[in-house]
Structure formats: structure tokens, C-alpha cells
Symmetry: C2
Subunit: 456 residues, 2 copies
């Protein structure tokens, strides 16, 4: 451990920012399983994927060999507008907890989209623009990804069509307006604009939509419109690649002060933040250079890693997407309506699933009341009002710091603070009013989800 | 001009952060006029002011002699959690405008309160705690100040009672919940909890409240409760003093790269941000060391500097506060209901008013549609979604940069980006839907406001 005084916030200099992304798959002995064509159960070819995704992104999606991939200068210039993000020493939280642990968090919320999603959105928009496309389509639930993508598309003057889960469209008008301010068109999903949307509306006239359904619509809109491709903000290998900028900056900042973390913690929905944060540390572990403890934190109400099955499953409800091998609760699984903490995706990144299956990473599930308690405690002492998603990581970081207090161990804990909670005040309101309840799916609930898994 | 390459964001090191605030009054030949007791029209004494404000803050309020005042280490430690704020070179905006001007903005929105208000909130909470008080009271309109103060009070474990203008309380539930998450109690104003509130409710049963009325209630609540004092987020000399941290950091960052601005621009409601930003530059101008052009930007719908009178007026509607000499529209003036851009206060800081009266500063008024156009243009290229207040400064910065394009002048423009617009999406929605209209008060409207000015 260095004798240098650690500032509250460690900022890298602009010239210290990563110039390459790190591709953790290159260092994995057991590679993540490939995407399969659901009709043939054969690996998706680049040509097949190219109908849905930009060519350069297809290359990145399939590349499990090259450890480093150059970040184009146009993307690096955009990164410079809101990155490097600070690595913060949580001095005030440590003091409050009276723990000997040293706690750091990488804060990704200091941009208008409010989360780390922008790291991949700008990359995907760039490659779409470079390919000469007219626009991209996507889905969004709570709206973090849609917001990030609309910012990225505004920057590159690219059209952006967002399918927003209807219930969010109606209940989160502010997110919608941020996207519209950036020039995106936002359609509540399911909608009459796609065949899959019309089919769902016919079968379930009163439905308020789901993420899986919005994905199906966005994919159809992209593949049926000349000059458009579909983009996705999580789960995919390419997304983890772009998000490695989080981990690379974190590691560079720690290295500057000769700090070595014992535990690295991240919340996990589809895996974009966790995968990005742990990548370079995981690389060291895979190469046998250093050991770390990694903890993925997921909501007890959507426990894909801790209670899911590691099998091939659909990525969307409409079943128009390829199959991915992942820890999954079944593509029909929908968390209880009272779940307010985000991280609602039924599956988990194939890369993270493989690492978890290989015992290289732990997972923990937490209940939402405890998550919001941690969020409030953190906000009061560290100032930042966290997104509910991020607060999952805070919960476990606090738990680990309290363990250190009990054992006297001076562990160094790093966690990812993915974003801010400005657009989640409805959930905070329920918490403030003590109306929030916890929900853990029963085994029968899970069995119902597993029953929808695809059969070869 | 330096040959060093200017990064997108200039961050000071932690040890380069200011250790003293700068008190511009010390360098003014014509001091700002003192606060007067409305009953006697005699200057308020420290003893009188001490019934409303903390003792240390009264000292700061009355001190027009000492140019530098130490920032206590406890406040500096809190500043370290969210400061230094970045000084950003607006490369992308310059490119978009094709201007030879060099544009910089000091971004104060990277904290949960979303604005610069936290700079003074933490100072005021600290002095209240140091004095052994149980809590503080305040008013809030849109909620930036209330949010900042509730964060500051949570940090020092001080009770915080916020009177929130009723219409905002109902229409901005998210701001309210942020305050509650930080442990503040939030009361819609006018309320039954104070005599002045009950009186207003009796006279105007359907009223949705006003800032001036909420101030009256907060002052009454403070002065009638043992162990409480009132705090205010703008207008006062002490607030400008605390906010000088903005200008000091800006100047230090510019000095690092040997950059000298030609024009410094800030939005102006009560003057907290503008006063803080320009203070150290104004000091140089007052001491004859260097000349700068300063532009205060205010909404055309609430034009205190450009169309107000420089006279003694009440600071609040209930007329329980001292009289201040300032550019004012009259304490009864309320901007049109369609005005969405913030900066609604009827008067202007006495310090800034004096500087303006002495010709040391210019003022410009802008209409809200043009302000939101600037906001959107800025958001699309610079990524940050600005608060409507901040967008007033953006509007004039863009106007000045366009002038440079026409004349070919390579002027250096610095403006204050006071905060983010996450809680202002209702206003953006109106803009996006092209439902926003402009409003300029008629001379008759202004005369009605002036008619309520106090007579000696």
C-alpha cells in the first residue's frame, strides 16, 4: 500500500484514458458459448448477425481472440466530454460505518444519461454512422439505455427510434422527454407499428408491455427498414467490451496509488456494468497473475445467477432474437410488479455466465428494502443519490465493510456506482412512505419461467 | 495564450482547491447598501440579524472589509466530495457554431442537488451546527436550494424544515422526494403551520403559493422555534461569498493554462451563481488590474436588472424580512405562469445591483423559447442537459460566439453552467411539443409591481 495520501476523488488525466478496450474473452479458457440460430440451433454466422447489427459490431461480438481492440479517436473524443469518471474514496461512508475497510467506488453517473450506458451507446452509434446507416432502433425499459443512445445519436446526427415499455412511457414521462429533447422518436411498446407489436396487442389488448416485447419490436423495425440496424445496451459481448473502459480506468486509477482491491462488486442485470468493471481484474485472475474476489449482486426478485439455469434461451419475448447460453429464468419470466430496483432482465451475459459457471465469480441476491436502506445511507454521507440498480452494489459493499469491522480486516473494496436515481423518485417515494415490500419468487414461480425454455 | 494543449475538462487537483472564499465587497469603492429594518429604516444590527441568521453568517453578511475569509476544513472536506467542478472547453459547441471564439463553461451540476446551490448550503449548515443549533428552516421554489440544503443538513445531522411553494410541491413530487430521502421535512406553502401562512390562506383560499410567501413562513418558523435559524440560498452577501468558490476555481483553472477570458457570462435570478462566478474577476477589475466584460442574463419575463428600479424593497411577500436596496420589480411582482425558465425572484443581490449601477457589469434579457433552443443545441453537442436557468447563460454565450464568427474575433468566453435539467422535463416537454410561448411584461405590469414598493 502506498504512503501517498489518497484524494477523495481520483481523476485520471485525459492522456491517461484508455486507448483500447479490453476483451476478457481472449483470456478465457472456456469461451462463452456462441449465439445460435433458433431455427437450426447452429452458431449464428457473421452474415446472419449482419442483418441485425452493424458489421463492425458483429466482428466485435464474435471476436474471442484479440485481448485489446482500439477505441476509435471519434469515440475517445466523445468520452473526453464526460470521462474519465472519478474513482471516489468513500471516506465519509467508512467513517459512518466505523470500518477498517477501505471503500472505493467508480461513479458513472456524471453524464446526462445518468449511467454507464453511454459508454457503449456512443460506440454503437459511431459504428452505425461509419457504416453509412440512416439510423438505429432499440428498446428501453426504465430509460437509461434509451437516453444514452439518443444522446449518442444526436452527437453523430443519426436517427434514433426507441421502443419504450408502455408502462414506463406513461409513468416516466421525464425520461421520454430527455430522449425527445435529443431528437429521438419514442414509441410506447407494444405498438401498432410492427407485426409483432400488433400480434401481442391482439392477444393481450390491455398489456402494459415488457422489455422482451420491446426488443422484438425494435429488432423487427430495424430489419424491415432500409439503412437501419438494431442496437442493445447490455448482455452482448460487444457491450461488455465497450464497458471495459470502466474497469480499465478503475485499474489505472488504483495503480497510480498502488492500491490493490480485495473485492470488486457490481450490480448485475444483463451484465453490462459488472462485466465492464471487472474485466481487467478478471483478466489478471484468468492469467494467474493475481487473485480477486468478484461479487455480482442481483435482486432477489429476479435472481438469474443465484437461482437460474445455465442453458440456451431466447433473448426476447417475441422470440425473434438468437438463442444465448446464459443463466436464465426463462424469457417469459417477469419480476413482480412491486419490484422497483431495476435489473429486471431474465438472463445474464454469456461471458459472465461462463465465468460464474467456472467458479471465477460469486453472486449474491438482495431484497429491495435493504437495497433502498443502503441507498439512503449512502446518499446521506456521500452526497450522491444512487440509482436503485447501483444501490444493489452499495448494499453488498456495506455488508462486506461491516464484516471487516467485525473481523478487523482492512480489506480494500471497490464497487461500481453505475448511475444516479433522479428518474427513480417514485421508487424512493414508496421507500420514504414505508410502502415498499420485498418479494422473492417461489420455486413454483421459477418453474413456470423454466417451462418456457426452448427445446432443441 | 499558452501553447499547452487544452483538455476537454480542466480539473484542479484537490490541493489546488480554494482554502479561502473571496469577498468582492472588500474591493468595492461603493459598498452595497446595508439591509434596513423595515420599521425604522435604520441599518439592521448584528443583534437584530442574529435572531434570524446564525452568528457567524451575520458576521459574513456585514463584513465588507476583509477580502479573504477562511473556508473551515469541515466545509472543504465536503467540497472534496463533489468539487473541484470541471471547467469544460466546449470544443463540440465551437465546432457546431463554426466560431473562432473559444468557449469554456464551469459546470456546477455534478452533484445530487443538481446545481451550485450546494456550495452555500453546506457552509450555512456547518455554521448552524457549530453554533449548536437543532435545525434550520428555508423556502424552496423549483427545489434546487431545498435539495441542496437537505443534503447539507443530512451530512451534519441537522434538522431541516423546507417550505416548498405549493404548486411546486404538487407538480414536482420528485424534488420533494429527494429532500425527504435526505431526511428533510417538506411542507407545502402557504400552510397552516405559521401565522403568516394562515393569514395568506384566509385571504387567498385557493392560492398555490409563491416564493416570497414561503420565505415569510420559513422566517417565522425559524424565529419562533428554539434552536432554529433561517437560511437563504441566494441574494444575500454571505451567499455570494460562499459561491465565490466557483469563480476562484474557474480562475485557477484558467491561470493554469494562461487563459484570460474576454467575456464572463452568468444567469441571474437572485445572483448567487453570477456573483460567485465573476467575483475574483471583478476583483481584478475593481483593483484596476485587468478589464473584463461581464454579462448578467435574466429572463425577459422577470427583468429586474434591465427594467427594474434600484431602490429599497422587501425581500419577501409577507414583509417580515429586512429591506434590501436592489434592482427590483416590487415584492408583489410574479412572473407570468407560463414562464418555465426559473430565475423568478423579484429582486437582485445588493452587491450585484451596486456593481451594475456603477457600470461595472452589463445585463441582457432573453426570451424563453430562445433559451430552450440554446439548451437543446447545447445538449446535443456537449452532452449535458442544462437546467433552464443555466440555459440563459448558454443563449448569450452562443450569441456572443456567433458575433465572433461574423467579426472573426477569437474571443475567449466563459460562462457558468449552474446545473442540470433532470427535474425540469415538464418545461422541456412544452418546448418539445412546441407549446412554449414567450412573455414580456408590459410597462403597466411593471408599474403594478412598482406600486407596491415600500415608502419611507
Amino acid at each position: 500500500m502506498s504512503q501517498k495520501e489518497i484524494p477523495y476523488k481520483i481523476y485520471l488525466e485525459e492522456q491517461e484514458m484508455p486507448k483500447q478496450w479490453y476483451n476478457v474473452r481472449a483470456d478465457m479458457t472456456n469461451k462463452p458459448a456462441p449465439l445460435l440460430n433458433p431455427a437450426t440451433w447452429q452458431p449464428m454466422t457473421a452474415q446472419e448477425l449482419g442483418k441485425v447489427f452493424c458489421d463492425e459490431l458483429v466482428k466485435q461480438e464474435l471476436d474471442d481472440q484479440n485481448p485489446y481492440i482500439d477505441i476509435p479517436v471519434e469515440i475517445r473524443n466523445f468520452y473526453k466530454m464526460y470521462r474519465p469518471s472519478p474513482l471516489v474514496r468513500a471516506y465519509c461512508l467508512e467513517k459512518k460505518l466505523q470500518t477498517p475497510a477501505k471503500i472505493y467506488y467508480k461513479f458513472e453517473g456524471n453524464n446526462t444519461s445518468g449511467s454507464h450506458k453511454l459508454n457503449s451507446a456512443i460506440a454503437q452509434a459511431y459504428y452505425a454512422k461509419k457504416q453509412g446507416l440512416a439510423g438505429v432502433t432499440t428498446e428501453t425499459g426504465a430509460g437509461q439505455w434509451g437516453t444514452a443512445l439518443s444522446m449518442a445519436c444526436a452527437y453523430f446526427e443519426l436517427d434514433c427510434k426507441v421502443y419504450m415499455v408502455k408502462v414506463s412511457y406513461e409513468q416516466k414521462p421525464f425520461r421520454r422527454e430527455v430522449m425527445r429533447t435529443y431528437g429521438a422518436s419514442v414509441t410506447p411498446s407494444p405498438s401498432e407499428t410492427t407485426a409483432v407489436g400488433r400480434k401481442i396487442l391482439e392477444e393481450h389488448p390491455g398489456t402494459t408491455g415488457s422489455l422482451g416485447c420491446a426488443i422484438s419490436e425494435a429488432v423487427e423495425a430495424a430489419t424491415s427498414t432500409e439503412g437501419y440496424r438494431y442496437v442493445l445496451g447490455s448482455v452482448l459481448n460487444q457491450v461488455l467490451l465497450h464497458q471495459s473502459v470502466i474497469g480499465l480506468e478503475t485499474k489505472a486509477a488504483l495503480d497510480k496509488y498502488e492500491i490493490v482491491p480485495d473485492i470488486v462488486i457490481g450490480c448485475a442485470g444483463g451484465g453490462s456494468n459488472l462485466g465492464g468493471l471487472i474485466s481487467p481484474f478478471m483478466g489478471e485472475k484468468l492469467r494467474g497473475e493475481r487473485d480477486y474476489k468478484f461479487i455480482a449482486v442481483e435482486p432477489a426478485s429476479c435472481p438469474s445467477l443465484t437461482r437460474g439455469r445455465y442453458v440456451y434461451d431466447f433473448c426476447d419475448t417475441g422470440r425473434v432474437c438468437p438463442l444465448a447460453k446464459m443463466y436464465t429464468l426463462g424469457s417469459g419470466f417477469i419480476p413482480s410488479a412491486n419490484h422497483a430496483g431495476g435489473l429486471r432482465y431474465h438472463g445474464m451475459s454469456s461471458t459472465l455466465s461462463q465465468l460464474y459457471a467456472d467458479g471465477l465469480m460469486e453472486a449474491r441476491s438482495v431484497e429491495q428494502t435493504a437495497v433502498f436502506e443502503a441507498a439512503q445511507q449512502f446518499a446521506k454521507v456521500e452526497g450522491i443519490l444512487p440509482a436503485p440498480e447501483s444501490a444493489h452494489a452499495i448494499r453488498v459493499a456495506i455488508d462486506e465493510a461491516i464484516k471487516c469491522k467485525e473481523t478487523g480486516e482492512e480489506k480494500t473494496i471497490v464497487f461500481g456506482l453505475t448511475g444516479t436515481g433522479y428518474f427513480d423518485m417514485k421508487a424512493y417515494e414508496r421507500f420514504n412512505n414505508k410502502e415498499m415490500v420485498d418479494y422473492i419468487p417461489t420455486d413454483a414461480d421459477l418453474e413456470a419461467g423454466f417451462a418456457g425454455l426452448p427445446q432443441k
